[in-house]
Structures are given as C-alpha cells and as structure tokens.
Subunit: 343 residues, 4 copies
Amino acid sequence: MSKIKIGIIGAGRIGKIHADNMLRASKVEIVAISDLYAGDELQEWAEARGIATVTRDSEAILSDPDIDAVIICSSTDTHVPLIKRAAQQGKHIFCEKPISMDVRLTEEALEEVRKAGVQLQVGFNRRFDHNFKRVREHVRAGAIGEPQVVKITSRDPSPPPEEYIKVSGGIFIDMMIHDFDMARFLSGSEVEEVYAQGSVLVDPVFAEHGDVDTAIVSLRFENGAIGVIDCSRKAVYGYDQRAEVFGSKGAVSAANDFPSTAVLSTENGVWSDKPLHFFLERYNQAYIEETELFIDCLSNGKPVPVDGQDGRQAERIALAAKLSHQLRRPVKLTEIEELRKGV
Amino acid sequence: MSKIKIGIIGAGRIGKIHADNMLRASKVEIVAISDLYAGDELQEWAEARGIATVTRDSEAILSDPDIDAVIICSSTDTHVPLIKRAAQQGKHIFCEKPISMDVRLTEEALEEVRKAGVQLQVGFNRRFDHNFKRVREHVRAGAIGEPQVVKITSRDPSPPPEEYIKVSGGIFIDMMIHDFDMARFLSGSEVEEVYAQGSVLVDPVFAEHGDVDTAIVSLRFENGAIGVIDCSRKAVYGYDQRAEVFGSKGAVSAANDFPSTAVLSTENGVWSDKPLHFFLERYNQAYIEETELFIDCLSNGKPVPVDGQDGRQAERIALAAKLSHQLRRPVKLTEIEELRKGV
Amino acid sequence: MSKIKIGIIGAGRIGKIHADNMLRASKVEIVAISDLYAGDELQEWAEARGIATVTRDSEAILSDPDIDAVIICSSTDTHVPLIKRAAQQGKHIFCEKPISMDVRLTEEALEEVRKAGVQLQVGFNRRFDHNFKRVREHVRAGAIGEPQVVKITSRDPSPPPEEYIKVSGGIFIDMMIHDFDMARFLSGSEVEEVYAQGSVLVDPVFAEHGDVDTAIVSLRFENGAIGVIDCSRKAVYGYDQRAEVFGSKGAVSAANDFPSTAVLSTENGVWSDKPLHFFLERYNQAYIEETELFIDCLSNGKPVPVDGQDGRQAERIALAAKLSHQLRRPVKLTEIEELRKGV
Amino acid sequence: MSKIKIGIIGAGRIGKIHADNMLRASKVEIVAISDLYAGDELQEWAEARGIATVTRDSEAILSDPDIDAVIICSSTDTHVPLIKRAAQQGKHIFCEKPISMDVRLTEEALEEVRKAGVQLQVGFNRRFDHNFKRVREHVRAGAIGEPQVVKITSRDPSPPPEEYIKVSGGIFIDMMIHDFDMARFLSGSEVEEVYAQGSVLVDPVFAEHGDVDTAIVSLRFENGAIGVIDCSRKAVYGYDQRAEVFGSKGAVSAANDFPSTAVLSTENGVWSDKPLHFFLERYNQAYIEETELFIDCLSNGKPVPVDGQDGRQAERIALAAKLSHQLRRPVKLTEIEELRKGV
C-alpha cells in the first residue's frame, strides 16, 4: 500500500506536534510544510525529519498534485480560505479548531468540502483523551441509562498574553469551544439552548477587550437533558479537565490527570502532585490518536471521527453563549441568526 | 450549672433523632415532647428516655414556664405560628428548615424573634458535615484566595412519595434550599441573581404537580463570584453530596462519602462501595453536632451558628430560582417582591 | 424482656467508653463499676449515667448474683484471675485483649470458661471496623477466590510512655496481637509459621527494655497462603491501618481512614487531611458495634463473634513472633511450647 | 555534534522497543541490528527505520569500528560474553537485566567493563517510571526523614509459558530482580539480609521446575531499615506495581496505574478501570526515558544512571532470596559465596 502524502500548513507548536506524531505512523509521508515565517530553523527541523519541501507559500502545498491531505494549523482567520482551496484541489483536510469565528463562513467552507467530496476532520483532540473517551464509551454502552445531566470543568493554568486575548474571539469561542464539543460528544445529543454567565475575576485586561475570564454556561439538550460547564482562564494549581454524565441508571465521571500517583504523608498533611501542567502534557496521547485516526480513515475510506458538522455545531453553541452573556438571558441556537443582526 | 430544659414539638423521624442526639449531652434535659398523633408508641419511646411529658398539644410545651428552648420538627406550615408563639413565651428556638414557604411569613416570624430577644437556629445540618465544614475552613482561612466559582452537587437516592411531592413546595424550595444555604456558607457571600433550569426526567408525576425532578441553578454572588448547583431527585447509586470552591489561589473540593474504603479488584474491573445511602447515614454526625452547638450557644450566651437570617436568605434564593424557572430568565433577589405579584 | 445486668471492672479510658457505648442500647443496665482507684470523680461519672454501685473491689461485682455479665477492662495481669472467678460465678465475660501474656495462663482461663459454660468475648474491636469487615465479607463471599497473600499495615501515631513500654510485653504482644488476629480473621485460615524482623528506629528506649519499635512479620498459613504485617510505633502523619487480601480471583484492600474528603489544590500541590488521629477516633464505631454484638449474643443465646480461642491463637502467634525475633529464624506455632523452655 | 552510532543485538520485542524509542532522539543513529533468527520480516522492519545493516551475526556489530554503543537484548545466557566482547572493543553497553544468573560471571563481565573504561547501563527500567521516580525524589529530598520501612508489591497479570519458566532462573531471579533493584533504589541503602517465603498457589507447573509462583521476601538494610516485597505471577485484575517508603518524618507511596480516571456509579456499586495490563503499557514511558538518559550520558560523558554494580547487587539479593527459600532461614548477602558451594 502506498503512503499517504501530507502537507502541513502552519509550523507553529501544534503544527510541529502533529508532524512528529504522524511521523510515528508508517503509513504517512510528510512531503511539505509551509509557514509565513519559514526560515533556517524550520528548514533544519524539516530536514531532521526528512520533509523535503519547506515553503512560505501554502499554495505550493495546495496546488501540489502529489499531496493527498493537508493539515491546517495556521491562524484561525486563514482556516476558511485554506479549507475551500484544499477542497477544490481535492485534498482531504485536518483543520485545527475552530474552523472560523463566524458560523456563516464555516458553513461556506463546509459547503465546499461537501461539493468536493473530501474529508474534513476538526481538531477536537479532547475526544481522544483516555478519560473522556472512556466516559463516552460508558454512556454509549448504556451503562448510565438516559443521560440527564452533563457536567464539564475546564480550567487553564494561566491566561494567554494580551496580544492573544485581543484576537481570540473571547472565552466562549476560544476556550469553551472544546467544552461545547465535549458536551455534544459525551451526551450524544444536540444543544438546544444556553445561558452564559461571565465574570472578570482573574485579570482586568479581559474586560478591556470585552471578554471575561471566568464563566459558567448552562445547557439544555434536545433530549431533555441539562448541563453545565464551568470555565476559568487561571487555575493556579494547573490544568483542570473533568467531566461527568449523570443518567437514569447511574453516573460516570472522569477526574483530572496527574503526573504520578505518589502520595506524601507528613505531620502537615497528605500531599500529592499538582495536575499535569497544560494541554500539551494532558492531551499528548490524544493528539497522537486523533491524527492516527485521521490517517487511518483516509487509508481505509472510512468517515473521519470528528467532521465539519461537529466543528460548526460547537461554533454555534459558542456563539449562542456569547450572545447570551451579552443579552443576559438564555439563548436558543435557533435564535442566533436573527440575533446576530442586532449585535 | 443547671441543665437546659427542652421541649420537642413534632415526634417524627427527625424529632426523635434530635431527641436522642441531645440526650447524649449532659447539659440537657428533655422534659416534654408533643405530636399531633402521640399515642402508646411515643409514650413508650419517651419513657425509655426519661422524658416525663408526652402530649398532643404543643401549647402544653409552649406555655410551660420551665422549658428553656423548643425544638420545632413539625410540618413546615406550623413553623411560623410555633416560632412566633415560642418567641413570645421567651423560649429559644431550634427550627427545622425551611422556616416557611413564604418569605413574608418567615420575615414576620423573624421579627417576633427579634422583638423577644430569643435565639433561633435553623436546621441547616449540612453546615456541620465533616466534609463541608472542612471546605469552609479552607475558604475562610484564605487557602484558596478570593472565591470565584462555587459548585455543589446534590442528588437524592430516590424521589419522595407523590403525597409529599404535592405539598413539598417544589424542588427549589424543598430540596435545594439546603444547597442554597451551602452556597452562601461556602462562599461567604450573598447570592444576587439566579438562573434556574429544570427538567422532568425521573418521573412524570413531578410534572403533574408543576414540579421538576432535575435542575441546574446558576448563581451570581455579590462579590462577583459565580456558582452552579446541580440537583436530582434520583441517583440510583445513592446519595450524592459534593462541593467545590475555586478561587484565586487554589481550589478546595469535597468528594462524596462512602461506608468503607474497601476496593475489590477482579477480572471484571475495580469495584468499591456505593455511597452512604441517604441523609440519615451521611449527616448522622452533623445532626449531633448542630444540636450540640445549639445547646452550647444557649448555655454560654453565644449567638447560634445558623440563624433566622440564614433561613430567610436561603428561602429568598429558592423563591428566585422558582421564579426564574417559571419565567425562563435570570432573576435578581431584589426582584422577587415585585415579581411575586404577577405569578 | 428483662435487661441484661452488667458490671464493669476497670474504669480507665476503655472501660468508660464501653460503658457509654452500652448505655446507648436499651437492652442493658449497668449496675456497677469497680476500679482500684475509684474516687469522687468516678462516683460523679457513674451518677450521671445512673450506675448505682461504684467500688474499689471487683469482688463486689463478681459475687453479685444480679449481675449477668462482666466487662473486664483492668490491667492485663488481672485478666486471667478475673475471668476464672467470673466464670465460676456463672457470668458471661467480655475481656479486653490480650487475655494474658502467657499462653498457658490463657489456656487455664479458657478451661474455666469452658467448664462454666459461660460466654467469653475478647476485645478484638478491629474486626468490627467498617473497612476490615467489608474486606472480610468479600473474602468470605469468595469474591477473591482462594486467599493467597494477606497484607496488613499497622502504625501508631506515637509510642506509649516508657512506663508502659516496660510492662507492655513488647511490640509483638502488645501492639501486633491485633494484627495477628486480623490476619486470621481476614484469611479465614490459621497461621502455621512466622518470621519476625524487628528494629529500633524510633526511640532507643525500646532497646533498653529489650523491645523493638518497628517490625515486619512474615506469616505462613495452613491453607498455603502467605502474609506479611508491617508495624511501627510512630507514624508522624497519624494512625495508619490498612489491609489487603490477594487471591486467585482478585484482591480486596482497605485504605486508611480520614476525617474528611476535602482536597485542597494550590500552587504548591494537592493537600488532603491527615488520617484520623488514633484508635479512639478510628475505631469509635467498631467499639460500639463489638459491645452491641456481645449484648445481642447474650440476649439471644448465640455464640459471641470473637471467642477465647481467637484470643488464645493471637497470643500464640505473638509468642512465636517474639521467639522468631529472638532466635533470628522462622518459628512454627507447634514449636512454641518446646522453645519456651529454652528462652 | 555527530550522532551516536548504535548497534542492537537481539531483535525480540524489547530490542525493537528500544530501537523505536531511540529513533525518537535526534542524537542517535541505529546502524545495525542482529538477531539469530533475522529474516525478511526483520529486514523490512529495519528498512522502514533506515537501519542499514541486518545480520544474524552479532560479531558484525561488535567488530564494527563505527559503532559507539551496543544495546544487548538477546537471551540472558549471551549477556556476559557479549558484554565482555563489547567492552574489549571499547563500546559502551546497554544490557537488559539480569546481566547473568551467576553472580560470578556477572563479576567477570564487570571487571572487563572496568578495564575497558566503557559505560554499562543495566535495564532496570522501573527506576524511570513516573511513580517510582517521584517516590525516590521525595525520599532523596528528605521529605520522609530516615527511611525505616520499604514496601513493594509486584504482581504479573499471568504467568509465562512453561518453556520460559524452565529457563527463567526462578521467580527470585527472573521476576523479583526488578523489585530488589527497586528496594535499593527507593531506600538508598544496601540490602544486608533476606528471608524468602515462597508458595505454589497459581499453577503446579512451577513446582515441577523447582520454582514458586507466589513469594514474600523480607529485607534488612544496612542502615537499619527493614522491608518487604510481595510478588505473584498472576493477578487476574492485571499488572500491579506499587511501592511505599515509610520514615521518621512521614511516608511516601505510589499507587498502581490505570488507563483512565473514569468511575462508573450504578445501583450495583462504583466501578473503575482495571490497571494497565502489563509492563509494556505500564513502563512505556520509562523505557523511553532509560534509553534517552543512556544516550544523553554517553553524549555528555556523564556516568549512566544504573550501572553494573546495580546489576550485580540485585543479582546478589536474588541469589540470597533463592538460597533463603531453599534453606528456610534468613540469609545474609555476605553468606552467599560460602552457601553456594553447598547447594
């Protein structure tokens, strides 16, 4: 079987991680990588991995007929044009989340993907996390009966720099989009309505950019279940990622992850490790698995595990949450098109 | 030092538990117990404990000049008149929660208590639970810095009978009033606004009585913190009572309680005990402690640890939650007087 | 049904605890308490509990024909004569562990008990601990198949005073006798051979009295299983009591006990409570249950749950362990009679 | 900096794992791999990794002047001659455990290594496990004061095939050698004396080959500490690897490892995942780290983290344990040379 030829667009941290993870798989050949700021360092990095082409021009990748699939890890504003172009060129696509910050643009991109008949996987890596995957398996197997309450906790160890905050799209889109996807994934149901509460408790810089740093979003699902996500930009003890689904026959929950099980007991108390520091440590294995599955699906002609509709739905929930916070009232997903005209 | 003489009004399960718990303290003498349905069984029960008077008439207790304090464990609708009468007779009062289902009546009762200069403790027993007390200690000591997010999970093992549901006042008042008090207790701040989502997922009988069986209530506190309580009438695995406070310097959380630490590992997985069944098992020691502290405060002229204002505030939050659920929008506590006119 | 009339011999801490625990049961009347140093304080203590007779002379209890059962909580050297005398007087007996420090004397006492046809319960309270009881239930139910390895950890928070060490009989008899009983209880098998290693690591005062403060005892059971107990006089973090039974179909283990489930996460790590301080806190409920069961068995003519043979066997294992440590070699229980001649 | 050139001897499972792990490091080039049964499959495997030479003759590697270091993963009986030859050729050596089953042969190999001035790392991979490493860090940092008791649990999910049992050297050498090394590693002290108890409880086939399948080994350390290791060839619930060090200022323990933190609560109890299946899953990351450190030490001229003396000492303890089990008495390490003459 011939190898799948991959081009990577965007050589930032996550682009390089995806590259290294895919190089572990024998079915893949990375033939090119592009980055707006490509230079000697990237050249060297690519050579050490046998990646032949390093370019500043993503079009060199998009128009290369030998390339089967592209991995889009460039900045969010470039995702939609890149997806469209890649689809038109008949390439399969793995795109980092979110597809865009504008649901209408996302829908345009998805339409192009649909027309081209290519596959599009969105980088909701947390679905491949060992803990959340196991929660989902229990739910799917019916172990908890009908899901009734979904709870997600999502806290970063420290806020991003102001430069990033400015362009991030805000906590509901930038950070919680992962959690909105997780809510759909764990419950197996669509979100119907959200109510978002936000506060600026960590750093006034968030207020300066019309953003919040702490939020609680209540959810109502189509199947009648309800849910809640609590989110903070700063947990001093480290990354905190937990979930729970409660149902008619039981509950399943996933605790946070820690670097070791070591417990120290002294006169002053019982002490254990802080959580794994941040997403690279926590989701290391999940990143590997999501790209492995992407490649595997392309190789075997199976549909990818997280597709464009998943990307779009999470964006719609995020938008509803943002509107709810602005309007200080619950917002239905069916309202968002109407509401956006006014805000 | 002479003993404090106690009369108990209402000889149901909780009245008897309070009696037995107080009999463990050497500073107390229970001189009378009244119950509408007092009969031979109660007579025998009282004799075994050296309680001299058993009566169907609570007034026999309220007008007895030898009695220093009354423990009100009768049905909720009797609380307000009994408190008023006890206060007028100069007796200290321990009253089960809620004081009433009508904040205005509660306020009338508190006014009487204030005028009489007696003490009134409300039976928010969970404040004395070993786990929640420890969470509060950490918060109070500043171990987590400024509280930012408060989370409470509250699930009963099975719903009450329909007869009870009818007159319960609904999940927000009957069940969640404990959780609203816990939110104030743990955060050390007042609740300002609530948004309540409810669903009927356990049993349609709740819908028949205009009630829900599953709820998520989002909270906004005066100090800017936000919070969320999730609540269910039926957790098949048993009673589930947890809390977490997240703040600027850390987080403190209390897991559920279990009858043993035994863990069984077999080919089929790792198995441990279900939680303690229900509130009598879980809060056994907390019930002891709340009455001990009540007696101790009376003996030493100290203010009781949970007073009438605590009772009133929890009722106001419960009412706001109920209104929020009806109106499907967030409700501020300052709105409730106005809103009640319309519903 | 008439109440069982109890006399308590020895009014130290544990005697008073047993008294208070039995007073909770309605089937019991404590009619007398004796103590060599009985004075005003004990008199007052007894009056508050309605105990009519306080005496310095245990014979006043032993010869009282109204007394059905005696609770022996006096010093270990008095146990054997008191048991013999109580048995001769036809009284049932609850005796604190150990029956004696000399297996031959213990056997004489048991012979007297046998002849009198009275019941004798030995105070191995840990068998009634919620955790260990649950471990035993799993083993008994066959959940782990055939037991193969038994592991017990037993650590005190701090060593006893030198005065006590001198007369304690040494760590193997004084402290580990509980663990030897636990090994038999959990495995459901008799111990056949032991090998004891001891060290003086906590305080040289133990060496001065021919004792050790830290020990590991390996066990071989009649059913082929093997086991190990590790023991220390001083765990600075508090009382540490754990057990594990590993078998052909799985393993069951009981972790230590803690005052709360609260967990504090900060920049410096994740902290939780130290264990319950010592045996009074840890075994509070087990003490209640062992006397309840004693009374219940007497009331219903059932055999007591821990009898004289259990007392004797634990003493034989302790003796074998002591000899093993002295001889620096494994010792079979069948050897102890022979070996004692030489040491 | 030029890359370190590596030759791998023995292309079984562990040889291939080491190869793949080293290929992740950019400082390494694997130039050759040898295996007695090398064929097309290995050829293909090597090509996919850019390993130029595949041979059946280890001498082709040992005599290649371009190779800096060899990784010895062939059968145990080949270790000593390969180490000697590699040392004579001036190559650094990474050798799987044990160096041999005969301490005298091991010592001969070490002497050759010493003379050649090359480095020898022994494959005690568990020292690099995230949990045990953290335990060691706490001990080394003095967090528990002076170590007093060391406890290790080591259980395999299922016994090896009979063919392997025959030549394994027995449980004390084959399986527990890792635990003996761990005892030295965690305590930071040498073992002075051991007492080993063994039983055949899993499968009579062990008895047929003079072996046991279940063992408890008590240890005495030079610094006065004592320890115990319990070991089983078959834990039906999966691999079980735990350790604890108890000392004058506290204790540190490492629990077992599990594939997820997911917990399922139902009417029938609370369930969580079985442990990680076996050593490949559990020590996956530890294998990576041990070879990374080996390469790093060679690159930077630092001494390797686990050397030949570590290999030799673990073998001496294993031998003492085997002798102790045969003689049914404690054995000092200083006795083994004398004792071996007689057995």
